[in-house]
């Protein structure tokens, strides 16, 4: 299957997020690798996704799961060689699968040679590649992000006897984007990977690139200027590549990252995700519609990126205190499940392994405006291990089968990079790809069907959205429209059956065609259109005038 050459391919994409280390181990060392991932591309193609997002695979001390990069020009030896990566890229492209990789612009590992040079003396030419100070009193307006581990954004360097700036862990010194050499160097690195064939970058932690006194050091104009500079260079050299922003911000603050279509192509919609969980638990659409009402229009070439879960904690930074307390109480009763300002759990355990709720959440993910991202393993309902530290509980090996090491690796179990999920509910004997492939009614098969349905109609990736506001607040209903195509989506957020009357009078004469079974529903007339939905049920209807 050839690659979709449309420059806006990311609008129609369904992205699968995976860490090379977690997916499949081809050489039996207990760690997933590029060759292992390549062997599983058929599975991903069968699932129906058309893009993979690989988490950082660069050389790294792995103190932040690879987001502490020590060399941007090659790959971590545990995952294979640069040649292995090239082969993976080719194989993915042959299957029509785009490849998105990480680029951590904001900081490096403290083990990166640049930092080692910079700290070696105050006169070193690389000294100014990082942000140094004789005092830790600068930029007091900047919040601390990793509250559970860091007390300050400054760390004392005993070698050069001064403080260096870090927005994340203290072993991740921030690069100095006021230094033109840094700006040039980071573009060169990106160019290196783009020339290799990489389709897109997820640019990590972009709001924090530049620091200015008297500000919160987030979303500064100087940061946007540099990001626009990167985009300009990207467009000058390449035709169908994409930049995806990781900026955990409120919608109004996110909007500038799209610029006038001249900055990022895509950005994660962080505030929506917790509100989908909140709406489900409250059985009330209000949190979802309100955040989308607050979401500004974006340029036509841009796209939101939506997700339910990812490799990080379910972040609760972009909610109010009241909402955060509610989310903790509802989804993380045990304090062990909480990390920083979030909940470190996978989708299935968050939803008590309730198949109907898992389907409803995926249904919304696939039908709200944006490009959906599926976190590896969530398509089969994998569980988590909250006893593992940091966010490692949601980064356990992929469960391919009920056999040895879940089919992930032939290594001795104790050599695996992380223990397998083994509990009776989510353990690999119960939850794995092979058994779900065998069952027509498994979650995996259902995910394949909904992905097919989503991809069958361009309205989901590119269409407009208009919310209907039926008086029954447990029903989230919206129209997706693109050209002459109109799709009606109706979601029941409630655990009980609901009746709802929808005002569809302007579509009088249309019939509704349910998209999963292609069954015809009654014609729209002058009266409110009455639907009944079972607990957590949802419908996708195509509207057709016959």
């Amino acid at each position: 299957m050839p690659l979709n050459k449309d420059a806006l391919w990311y609008k129609d994409a369904i992205i699968y997020q995976v860490h090379v280390r977690t997916f499949h181990d081809s050489n039996g060392d207990g760690i997933g690798d590029f060759q292992g991932l390549e062997q599983k591309l058929d599975y991903l193609q069968e699932l129906g996704i058309n893009a993979i997002w690989l988490m950082p695979f660069f050389p790294s001390p792995l103190r932040d799961d690879g987001y502490d990069i020590a060399d941007y020009n090659t790959v971590h030896p545990s995952y294979g060689t640069l040649e292995d990566f090239r082969k993976l890229l080719e194989s993915a492209h042959e299957r029509g699968i785009r490849v998105i990789i990480e680029m951590v612009l904001n900081h490096t590992s403290d083990q990166h040679p640049w930092f080692q040079e910079a700290r070696s003396s105050q006169n070193n030419p690389r000294r100014d590649w990082y942000v140094w100070s004789d005092t830790d009193n600068l930029y007091k307006g900047a919040r601390i992000i990793f509250l559970d581990t860091e007390k300050s954004n400054w760390a004392w360097d005993p070698i050069s006897k001064s403080y260096y700036w870090h927005r994340f862990f203290s072993h991740q010194p921030d690069l100095n984007y006021d230094n033109p050499a840094v700006r040039v160097q980071m573009w060169n690195l990106m160019k290196f990977w783009l020339e290799m064939g990489v389709d897109a970058f997820r640019l990590d932690a972009v709001p924090y690139l530049v620091e200015r006194e008297g500000t919160n050091c987030e979303n500064l104009p100087e940061t946007h200027n540099y990001l626009k500079e990167l985009r300009r260079k990207l467009d000058e050299h390449f035709t169908d590549r994409m930049l995806l922003a990781e900026a955990n911000q409120w919608p109004a603050d996110l909007r500038p990252y799209f610029g006038d279509g001249d900055e990022f192509h895509m950005a994660f919609h962080f505030p929506l995700m917790p509100r989908m969980f909140m709406g489900l638990k409250l059985e009330d659409r209000k949190p979802i519609t309100e955040i989308l009402q607050q979401t500004p229009e974006i340029p036509p070439s841009c796209q939101w990126s939506l997700f339910l879960r990812n490799h990080d904690e379910l972040t609760l930074e972009m909610v109010t205190d009241m909402e955060r307390d509610y989310m903790y109480d509802m989804y993380a009763a045990s304090k062990t499940m909480r990390l920083n300002l979030g909940i470190r759990r996978r989708l299935a355990p968050l939803l008590n392994n309730d198949r109907r709720r898992i389907e409803l959440m995926n249904g919304m993910l696939m039908s709200l405006p944006g490009t959906p991202i599926i976190y590896y393993g969530d398509e089969i309902g994998m569980g988590d291990n909250i006893l593992l530290g940091d966010r490692n509980g949601v980064r356990t090996p992929m469960q391919w089968s009920g056999g040895w090491n879940a089919g992930f690796s032939i290594a001795e179990p104790q050599r695996l990079y992380a223990p397998l999920i083994q509990d009776p509910v989510y353990g690999y004997p119960a939850v794995n790809v092979i058994s779900q492939r065998e069952s027509e009614h498994s979650l995996l098969r259902w995910m394949q069907r909904i992905i097919t349905a989503r991809r069958s109609n361009g309205v989901f990736g590119r269409g407009s959205i208009e919310f209907l506001y039926p008086a029954n607040h447990r029903i989230l209903a919206y129209l997706r429209r693109l050209g002459k195509e109109t799709v009606l989506v109706v979601n029941n957020l409630s655990s009980t059956a609901q009746a709802v009357e929808l005002d569809l009078r302007r579509y009088k004469g249309n019939i509704l065609i349910e998209m999963f079974g292609n069954n015809i529903f009654p014609r729209v007339g002058d009266m409110p259109y009455l639907l009944t939905l079972g607990p957590y049920q949802f419908y996708w209807f195509r509207l057709r005038r016959v």
Partner: protein, 429 residues
């Protein structure tokens, strides 16, 4: 036919439009009922305060405000429904976790708030509300905390009925202090300060039970349902408590308001005595009920009351209604009333014992229907004014403690003379 089936049949008095609104609301944890009739002057601030109370005290709970309106023509329902919180009309200055429906229905007009309360209780049952409160649409002194004070004991404390206590002027609520409170206390054995409740809370299960058992379709169903609700909770053995709300605004009453008020309150109490006889006839003494906050507080500001007029109406009534009183009262009680009616303002005193005997004889006559029951209630009005004259005189310079002591003396007199009521009740049978 089961009880449930009967109730569903009864609930056809709800309109289709209201049922449609209830479907949209769905199951709730908390229901606030608001009976109204042309309350546009006050209801806006009342519903605003109710909404604040819900958002502060119960931000996570599913809540609804239900307005049962008796045909207002001043825009009252629109004011109530306008405070809904929903995503179709987002309010920028208000943060709420979830949708708050505020819906309204028109119910039949009639005396008292019985039909409105029935509507509210039917809605509570259909929505499976766990905790409900009914608020007065005229309550100018309403505070958001009142919502929690009434709901908490039910929603979190497991009680079935929460009666309010207030900080009132010592001369406010005189029917309550001189008749309802002491008589309910003596007969039913529980010291509920406001048995006829302007605001109250109830559990879904108790509301549902009352909805099914109350004789809604008999002629008296609309009158005094708030009092019958209290009595039903007592006789049904439900968990009852009191919650102090705060200062209750004083409502000016005209003399002409007394008889309707007595119909609503004393009439309802007298009506209940017959079906409740097996309960109250076996009760001796009285017990306090669990109370959050003060049991009662009194404001002592000077107030202007035309006492002379009260006494004149008493004397005129005793003279003009002699034939009526002869049918109702014992000869000795009537003679004593006629004696004090001749006294001057300075000497006049309607003592507690005589007042209690009067009330009990009225209650017994009401049960026997010696004359029209409504005439019996009307005949009580001039005598009540005489009692009020004495109460005002005795407490004019009194401190809060003095007033409380005098009320307690009256209560004990009602308890002491309860055998007298029983004796009359049985002899008349």
């Amino acid at each position: 036919m089961t009880r449930t089936e009967l109730k569903l049949e009864d609930e056809t008095f709800l309109t289709d439009d209201f049922l449609r609104q209830l479907i949209n609301v769905g199951e709730v944890d908390i229901l606030v009922g608001l009976p109204t009739h042309n309350n546009a002057k006050t209801v806006g601030s009342v519903v605003d305060t109710i909404r604040n109370g819900i958002l502060r005290g119960f931000p996570r709970e599913r809540a609804v405000i239900i307005n049962a309106d008796r045909g207002s023509r001043d825009g009252t329902p629109e004011l109530v429904t306008s405070i809904s919180i929903d995503d179709a009309r987002p309010a920028s200055n208000l943060y709420a976790l979830r949708t708050l429906h505020s819906i309204s229905t028109t119910c039949a007009n009639g005396p008292g708030s019985g039909v409105a309360l029935r509507t509210i209780m039917a809605a509570a049952e259909l929505l499976r509300a766990k905790a409900c409160i009914v608020m007065s649409p005229e309550s100018a002194s309403l505070q958001p905390q009142w919502i929690s004070n009434l709901l908490d004991p039910i929603y979190r404390g497991g009680f079935d009925l929460v009666a309010p206590t207030y900080r009132r002027h010592k001369f406010d609520g005189l029917v309550m202090t001189n008749l309802l409170y002491p008589m309910v206390r003596a007969l039913y054995g529980l010291r509920i300060r406001e048995p006829y409740m302007p605001e109250f809370g109830f559990s879904g299960r108790f509301g549902s039970q009352f909805l099914g058992q109350n004789g809604w379709n008999d002629g008296n169903s609309s009158a005094g349902v708030e009092l019958r609700f209290t009595l039903a909770a007592i006789t049904g053995g439900y968990g009852i408590c009191q919650s102090f709300l705060g200062e209750k605004d004083h409502t000016e009453r005209r003399a002409a308001d007394l008889v309707p008020a007595l119909r609503q309150t004393v009439g309802a109490l007298f009506s209940a005595l017959e079906p409740d006889f097996s309960v109250w006839s076996t009760v001796a003494g009285s017990k306090p009920v669990p109370t959050t906050g003060s049991e009662q507080e009194f404001l002592l500001e000077p107030t202007r009351v035309n006492r002379k007029r009260l006494r004149e109406m008493f004397s005129t009534g005793v003279a003009e209604l002699q034939s009526v009183f002869q049918a109702i009262l014992s000869p000795s009680t009537l003679a004593e009333l006629q004696r004090i009616a001749r006294l001057g303002d300075e000497e006049f005193r309607y003592p507690a014992e005589l007042w209690v005997r009067t009330v009990y004889e009225f209650a017994a006559s009401y049960q026997k229907s010696v004359i029209s029951r409504d005439h019996i209630i009307q005949a009580l009005a001039p005598l009540f004014r005489g009692r009020v004259f004495t109460f005002l005189s005795e407490n004019r310079a009194g401190s809060a403690n003095d007033v409380e002591s005098n009320i307690e003396v009256l209560c004990l007199e009602f308890e002491r003379l309860k055998p007298y009521l029983l004796q009359m009740w049985k002899s008349r049978e």
